[in-house]
Symmetry: C2
Subunit: 257 residues, 2 copies
Amino acid sequence: MKEKLTVIKVGGKIVEEPETLNQLLADFSAIEGYKVLVHGGGRSATKLAAQLGIESKMVNGRRITDAETLKVVTMVYGGLVNKNIVAGLQAKGVNAMGLTGADMNVIRSVKRPVKDVDYGFVGDVQQVNAELLGDLIRRGVVPVMAPLTHDGQGSMLNTNADTIAGETAKALAQLFDVTLVFCFEKKGVLSDENDDDSVIPVITPVEFKQYVEQGVIQGGMIPKLENSFSAIDAGVSQVVITLASAINGQGGTIIRG
Amino acid sequence: MKEKLTVIKVGGKIVEEPETLNQLLADFSAIEGYKVLVHGGGRSATKLAAQLGIESKMVNGRRITDAETLKVVTMVYGGLVNKNIVAGLQAKGVNAMGLTGADMNVIRSVKRPVKDVDYGFVGDVQQVNAELLGDLIRRGVVPVMAPLTHDGQGSMLNTNADTIAGETAKALAQLFDVTLVFCFEKKGVLSDENDDDSVIPVITPVEFKQYVEQGVIQGGMIPKLENSFSAIDAGVSQVVITLASAINGQGGTIIRG
């Protein structure tokens, strides 16, 4: 039987403010067993870019990453946010190691081809080095992954944190019994968007289809759930969508195959 | 017999300009055997600080590191410079891994006590985790170390790159036959400061004393050589002071015990 591993993705807001970061680090530290943290940092990147007079352009929620913006995200995601988390976890006795995809070639990606939109230095994940990650994890190391990859030709690439979490979870599912947790600003997937307590506890593929047909699940939640089912199809045991404050407890919406 | 390991420290200027960086990465890639790269990044930090309206204050060549400056150096050293080097080495087939002292608790330091000068968030190295570094190195990983450590209590600390290189070399001397190379803007230690070719090929402790008494070696070179002899005393086999372009060849000044 495979050992349990939890991959937790937290968005920028939570890790960018000292109070919520401290609470997250405490909650994350308390999670038993093997674990991986994947973080964002978009707000800090936008803030630094603005301070440097660089305009932040977003298309479909993704940052257009020109050469100057790539420097900004490499500094913010790989430096500021990542090292704050790593130092914070070390202080709590968690043997954290910050990683971008370039480090030990953990995640190689390819620069997104230009179609309707030129996203610039944005990477689509090609390969996750699961053996190497798994080996580190089994040795007690807790990877803290920044949303950056590399192209194998010397360039860093900006890569969506949800994608990093999903692809990492899929790759590690070869080696571990993986739960993927997406932290969210709501308690879970809601059946009534006006009622924060209307959390749907479990969603299966059949139910997902029904909810979409009924209009209960709509908008940006649809691709999020499609990604979740894609992870399940690739061997991830379950995906949980929940509040950051609930990563170590019960609650949220569980996505099952 | 211990296996050979080369620890190379390169200053900011070399790693901060694309052309010199590319040459350095090619030269570094060609070094045979186990190796570690330690880099600076001061010029980029000063530049980013200026862009953000933060004044760079230096005392005795060391950066006064207030909270805002700590953010700047964490971004520049741990993010921008480190990841550029790592991605560049990966493209050359070197399995580089970027590390700050916080990552896997590789180097823990203590915030420098305030005496005449309050250096702020500057760390004095307390402990280098040689076993862990040695283990990674033996597995083919090439550590690329940023001049940042952590205090074990959640804070990153700005730490001089020469010190990181020296302390890492000393710690790894327990496990390897270590050569420590300080890259320099001259061909080596000169016997005549007006003649760039007057490189002193070898300096022993007795000769060092004589050169200092004669005034041949003076100024900032004295602490650099004192640090080198301190590394030798701690078990490092030799220290080389040379041009960055000569790290893979002969030349420079060899410091021997």
